[in-house]
Structures are given as structure tokens and as C-alpha cells.
């Protein structure tokens, strides 16, 4: 018998599950951090929950690992493994919430929502009472840590530390990485993964140090060491969870200003930092996506800040004082919210439900833009919009000059027509899921009699699919997703999962061609 080409063979589920087992096993190690915090604050019930979760994850991981001692990875196995890894991480991450049993997140559906929202760096919360009177400090830290782990990617981390993933790792990272295509920084994929995680960790540490430095310098009285770590862990992954119920509004203007550049960095392609470190800073200035990213945020900020500055309803805000007529305040509120939404972070320094309709619609539109490819941000991504704009202009040109052959260029390089079609397909699919998702959220809300406007439903769908986390109205920046029925919450769990993996890796699992031999 002759060797069959790989495409003719049935997908090797055992190989995927075995690799999944290796990742799940290591998730147990991640639980050491919140467990240590539990010991420090003498929260024994939480410690028990973390220990039990760790043991369960370890056992499940070891059992799965035994399915295939020498897993071979093809294209389909890679999709299956990445898709399952994020589902498994969400399930393992939900266990501590259930076992600790504090507040609304103890309910299994809520726990799964909070955990998926954490790992996918969405930042949508179903915690009813975000305070230490209901929740232990260690479980809060676990909530922050899930975002940090999900930010640069669980699979990317696995490729960085697990030698058995060095073969086929590129395929895995490609399935997980945000943006079209993966930029290999080093010849060996495991080294690229390690470089990305080191950069990510270094910037996180820098932010924690700066935030705590503000506290020591008496510029941020409530930015304790715990809060500095908690916010460092959720800025860089563009996460948006905060242990403060009123998000970043709870902190001084200095803290708010410091967080802005870190959100911008989180939404930047991490390959650019790598080039800067390698002594090629000019590559950053030449990068078309980076320029568009900064330009877009600059223009949006200018418009939003202008709208806030002139809005008579914001002349005296009950929580944050006067915004209209105050240059610093309107600029800060404008830039913070704009950057937070474009990078899909989801922090807020005020309840932007109080803004005018125009400013709110601009934020909703920004939710559909997203961060850069290769960043920790989600959404459709700047580079895709750039390619679409350039391709549309080309289309108009060739309508006038039908004989002209003119490739679409990005950063001086001609783009493959197949890649352009793929980008169109992704963007259209994303918008279609957004519109259909909105309708489903509306339908489900009206089924249970939950009052939900179309705008609120649109923002909730865009915020979960785009991993932003915060929307308008009942899902506003100071509120959560608790009022939704469990069916909607589960639907949103799948939206977050779809959004984080950029649709395709999840959707292929649902096609019959994937499972047939």
C-alpha cells in the first residue's frame, strides 16, 4: 500500500487531545500564583479551591496526555487543539469561582462566562458586587491573571515552554495569533514565542513599577501594590478587568494618564518592539499599520474630546466633575475611552453612557476596528481595514482603467489576491456574525422580558465578539452582563471564543469536511 497524503486521512483527534492534555497540565502551575496570594491573606477557603482545581487539571491533563505518546500535528489537528485549548482553559478557569462560592460568579454559567471573558481578554463581567467584601483577594487575582495568560496566547506560551510543540508550533501559533498571518521573528518558532512572552512580561513589570511608583510618590493614594499588580496584569493583555467596581475612575488623573500609553503599547504589533530592541527602529516608522493605528486614535480622540468639551450636559458631572469647558478633563476622558475601546481593553474612567449620541456611536464604530495584528488586542484589526480600503480604491481605479493591472500594496509590498479575498471574507463574516448575534441577543432578551434597546444589544454583541468587554446602557462601563438570561450568556461565551480565535479556527470545526477522511 502506498502512503496516503495527509488530507485523505481522518483528523487525528487523539493527537490534539494529547497536546491539549499537556497544556491543561501546565494550567495547574498557573494556579500557584493565586494560591500564594491566598496564603498571604490567610484566605483558606480560596486556597482549597485553587488546590482542588490544580489537582483536577493535573489529573485531567495527565489522562489526556496518555492518549497519544507521540502526537503528530497536521493542519486539522492544530485547529482542533487550539480550539479545544481555549475551551478547556475557560472550563478550568471557571472551577475556582464555583468552588469558592462567593457572589454571583459561583453559579456555573456565570463562572464560565467570567472565565471565558478572562482568558479571551474580553473584560465583560457578571460579578454582581465587585468588592473585597464579597470576593477574596486571591480569587480577584485569579480573575486578573486569566487575562494576562490569555493576552499573549495560551498556545503561544505553550509553544514557548513545551519542547514537544516545537514541531508544528508555527501552525498552532498561526491559528491562535491575532491578525492575518504570523510574523516569524526568529528562524525557530519556539524562540519567537519566547521572545514575544518575554517582551510582554517586561512591559507588564514596567507598568506595575510605574503604577506603584505613583503610589509611593503620593500621586495615587489607592494604587496599592495589589492594585498596581492587578492593573498591570489586565492592561497589557487589553483585558479590562479591574478589582475596582468603578474601573479606572476610582484612581487619580495621574494613574489614568499613565495607563493610556500602556494600552496603546498593548494594541501595537509586538514584532515592532522586537525590531526596536534589535536596533531597527526605522521599521516601526515605516509600518503602515502602526501609522494608521496611531492616526486613527489621534483623529477619534480629537473628535471625541471636542464633543465632550462642548457638551452642555457634561458641564458638571456627578462622579468626575466638570468635563465640558475643562481642557485637561475632556482630553483625558476622550483619549482614555477612545484608546480603551480601539485597543479592545475595556477600562473606563467615567460612565460614557452619559455622553451624547454622536460620541457613543463613534465608540461603537471603534469597537469594530480593533487593535493591530500581532498585538494582544482583538476585533477586526487595523491592517484588515487598511487592506480593504486600498483594495476598494484599486477597484475604483480598475473600473475606470479596465486594462490596468495594479496590485494592492501595503508597506511597499504587493499583496497576494488570495490574501485580499481572505481579508474581505473575514471582515464580512465578522460583521454578519455581529448583526445576526445582535438579533439573537434581542430575541433572547425579549423572550425573558428583559428591556434591551437595539443599541444596547449591538454594543453587547460587538463588545463580546470583539473582546472589548464594555458596551452601552445596561452593559455600560460600570455595569455588567448579569441581567442577561443564561442562554444569552452561553451564546456570548461562544462569541468571545470565536472572536479571540478570529472565527475561522472555530468555524472549521463545525464543517463536515473537517471530520471526514
Amino acid at each position: 500500500m502506498t502512503a496516503v497524503p495527509s488530507a485523505a486521512v481522518r483528523v487525528d483527534g487523539r493527537a490534539s487531545l494529547s497536546l491539549l492534555g499537556r497544556v491543561v497540565k501546565w494550567l495547574a502551575a498557573a494556579l500557584v500564583a493565586p494560591a500564594a496570594v491566598a496564603v498571604y491573606y490567610a484566605e483558606w477557603r480560596s486556597l482549597g479551591a485553587f488546590a482542588a482545581t490544580a489537582v483536577l487539571a493535573l489529573l485531567a491533563g495527565l489522562a489526556l496526555e496518555r492518549l497519544d505518546p507521540d502526537p503528530d500535528l497536521g493542519a486539522r489537528e492544530a485547529f482542533l487543539m487550539v480550539g479545544l485549548t481555549w475551551l478547556a482553559a475557560a472550563l478550568v478557569g471557571a472551577l475556582p469561582y464555583v468552588l469558592v462560592g462567593q457572589g454571583t460568579v459561583a453559579a456555573p454559567v456565570n463562572a464560565l462566562f467570567e472565565s471565558m471573558s478572562g482568558f479571551t481578554t474580553t473584560g465583560a463581567t457578571v460579578m454582581g458586587d465587585i468588592s473585597f467584601s464579597t470576593h477574596s483577594r486571591s480569587i480577584m487575582l485569579w480573575r486578573q491573571l486569566t487575562q494576562w495568560l490569555g493576552g499573549m496566547g495560551i498556545v503561544v506560551l505553550a509553544v514557548a515552554i513545551l519542547p514537544e510543540l516545537s514541531v508544528g508550533g508555527a501552525q498552532l501559533m498561526d491559528a491562535e495569533a491575532p491578525g492575518p498571518g504570523l510574523e516569524k521573528l526568529t528562524p525557530r518558532i519556539a524562540e519567537t514565542a519566547r521572545a514575544l512572552w518575554k517582551l510582554y512580561a517586561a512591559i507588564t513589570v514596567l507598568e506595575i513599577a510605574l503604577l506603584y511608583g505613583l503610589h509611593l510618590g503620593n500621586l495615587a493614594p489607592n494604587m496599592t501594590f495589589y492594585n498596581a499588580v492587578a492593573h498591570g496584569l489586565t492592561t497589557m493583555p487589553t483585558g479590562g478587568f479591574s478589582p475596582e467596581a468603578r474601573s479606572i475612575e476610582a484612581f487619580s488623573a495621574a494613574v489614568q494618564w499613565i495607563i493610556v500609553p500602556f494600552m496603546i503599547a498593548a494594541g501595537t504589533n509586538f514584532a515592532l518592539f522586537w525590531y526596536v530592541l534589535k536596533g531597527q527602529p526605522r521599521r516601526v516608522l515605516r509600518d503602515a499599520e502602526f501609522k494608521a493605528y496611531l492616526g486613527l486614535m489621534g483623529v477619534l480622540t480629537a473628535i471625541v474630546a471636542g464633543l465632550l468639551f462642548t457638551d452642555p450636559n457634561l458641564a458638571a458631572h456627578p462622579e468626575v466633575g466638570p468635563i465640558a469647558g475643562d481642557v485637561e478633563s475632556s482630553l483625558r476622558q476622550g483619549v482614555f475611552q477612545t484608546v480603551s475601546i480601539v485597543t479592545t481593553t475595556g477600562y473606563a474612567t467615567m460612565n460614557f453612557n452619559d455622553w451624547g449620541w454622536t460620541a457613543k456611536y463613534l465608540l461603537l464604530a471603534a469597537m469594530l476596528v480593533g487593535g493591530s495584528a500581532g498585538s494582544t488586542g482583538s476585533g477586526i484589526k487595523i491592517v484588515r481595514w487598511l487592506v480593504i480600503l486600498k483594495s476598494l480604491r484599486r477597484e475604483l481605479f480598475t473600473t475606470v482603467h479596465p486594462e490596468a493591472v495594479r496590485p494592492v500594496r501595503l508597506g511597499g509590498r504587493a499583496l497576494d489576491e488570495r490574501a485580499i479575498r481572505g481579508i474581505y471574507a473575514f471582515t464580512l463574516l465578522y460583521l454578519a456574525i455581529f448583526l445576526v448575534g445582535t438579533a439573537l441577543v434581542m430575541l433572547d432578551a425579549s423572550r425573558v422580558g428583559l428591556a434591551l434597546s437595539g443599541f444596547e444589544a449591538m454594543s453587547a454583541t460587538a463588545a463580546t465578539l470583539g473582546n472589548v468587554g464594555r458596551g452601552f446602557g445596561i452593559v455600560g462601563p460600570m455595569d455588567g452582563y448579569l441581567p442577561f438570561p443564561p442562554t444569552t450568556k452561553l451564546f456570548m461565551v461562544s462569541l468571545m471564543w470565536l472572536g479571540r480565535l478570529e472565527i475561522l479556527p472555530v468555524l472549521v470545526l463545525l464543517t463536515s469536511a473537517f471530520w471526514r477522511s
Partner: protein, 212 residues
């Protein structure tokens, strides 16, 4: 397709305690409104603005479908959606089997890749124009202090751009667009023009390459 959407709307209207048409009436009203909207006709046998939000949303989605290519309807057109769906399925297939070459087929004929791209581009640009138009309608209404809800704005933007006619709220089937500010009505005039000519011919006029 029309039948399916018609039954969904009829069921939603029937289940809505706020409406009391009785079974036969419900089917007639449901089907008539769906056919009228999907074919971008714009007739109405009943004020569907009074229906439940769910039924109204289904009608709203129906606005984007449009009739068949070569008919007198407007909107995005069913054939485009068919190509889009088939191309999506092909893309999912080639993601699993990267070496496979598989053209998108419509009624047995392979569709040219450039056409697939154009269909993608057109559908996407329609959605973007619609979204931008909605933002403008909301912003312009807020400027003059008119009370226009987000769903009303979306409905009015879609209805003019896709050449349907009636929408929801003030611009409902028995209402009119007179309540919108003059600037909004001027933009809507532009939207109808752009929508009827399917965007591209108008957009081309705005490029420097056309005039050089």
C-alpha cells in the same frame, strides 16, 4: 427563503400579545410585510411599527436581502448573498485542505475569483455605507434636538440606501420622513442615488483617476 422569513414573522406577530389579528390575518400581514420589504417594494397592509421588537428586527434584517439580480428590486440582492455564503464555505474547506483547488459554483457554473472578490467588496461596502449613514442620521438629529431612536435611525438609513421606503418609528409605513432635519433629508437623497446605482458608479465619479 421568503416563505421561511414570512413564517418567522407571522409566528412572532402571532405570539405577541399586543397584536390581535387572528391566525389567517396574521399570516397575511406577516407574509405581505416580509415580501414587501425583501423585494424593496415598501407597501404595507398594517402599521408594522406597532409590532414587537423581535418581529421588527426580522423585517430589518430582511431589508438587507433584496430581490434577484436583473429584477426591479434594489438592496444587496440574493445572488450576492449566495455567492458570499458559498465562498465562505469554500474558504472553510480550503483552510482544512490547503492544497485543494475548488472554485465557487453557482448553478453548476464556476464563478470567477475576481467576481467573488467584487461581490465581497460590494456587500462589505454596503454594510459600511449603511453604518456610516446611521451614525450621520443620529448625529444630525441630535444636533437639531430631534428625538430619533437608534433603531429608527438604522431603519431610516437602511430604507433609503436600499431603496425600500418605509422604516420604523417616525418613518414607519404610515409615517413620513418629514420629521428629519433638512440636512438629513439631503443626505438621504444622496443615499437613494448611491443605493440605486449600487455604489460603484457614483464612487468612481469621486476618484481623481476618473477625471484625469
Amino acid at each position: 427563503m421568503l416563505g421561511g422569513l414570512g413564517s418567522v414573522v407571522a409566528a412572532l406577530v402571532f405570539l405577541d400579545p399586543g397584536t390581535t389579528y387572528g391566525p389567517a390575518e396574521t399570516v397575511r400581514h406577516g407574509l405581505f410585510q416580509v415580501v414587501s420589504i425583501v423585494t424593496t417594494t415598501g407597501y404595507a397592509t398594517v402599521d408594522f411599527d406597532l409590532w414587537s421588537p423581535a418581529a421588527k428586527h426580522v423585517l430589518f434584517v430582511g431589508m438587507f436581502l433584496g430581490g434577484m439580480a436583473g429584477s426591479t428590486t434594489c438592496s444587496i440582492k440574493l445572488v450576492r448573498w449566495l455567492v458570499v455564503i458559498k465562498a465562505f464555505r469554500r474558504d472553510l474547506f480550503t483552510a482544512v485542505h490547503p492544497e485543494a483547488v475548488r472554485p465557487v459554483r453557482l448553478s453548476g457554473q464556476a464563478v470567477d475569483e475576481k467576481t467573488v472578490r467584487d461581490v465581497y467588496a460590494y456587500t462589505l461596502i454596503s454594510l459600511l455605507v449603511f453604518f456610516a449613514a446611521t451614525v450621520f442620521v443620529v448625529a444630525d438629529a441630535a444636533r437639531v434636538g430631534a428625538d430619533v431612536g437608534e433603531f429608527e435611525a438604522m431603519g431610516a438609513a437602511a430604507s433609503t440606501f436600499l431603496n425600500i421606503g418605509p422604516a420604523f418609528g417616525a418613518a414607519g409605513p404610515f409615517g413620513s420622513y418629514a420629521s428629519f432635519p433638512a440636512s438629513t433629508r439631503v443626505v438621504m437623497t444622496g443615499l437613494m442615488w448611491v443605493g440605486r446605482l449600487e455604489v460603484l458608479p457614483v464612487a468612481v465619479l469621486l476618484t481623481p483617476a476618473f477625471w484625469r
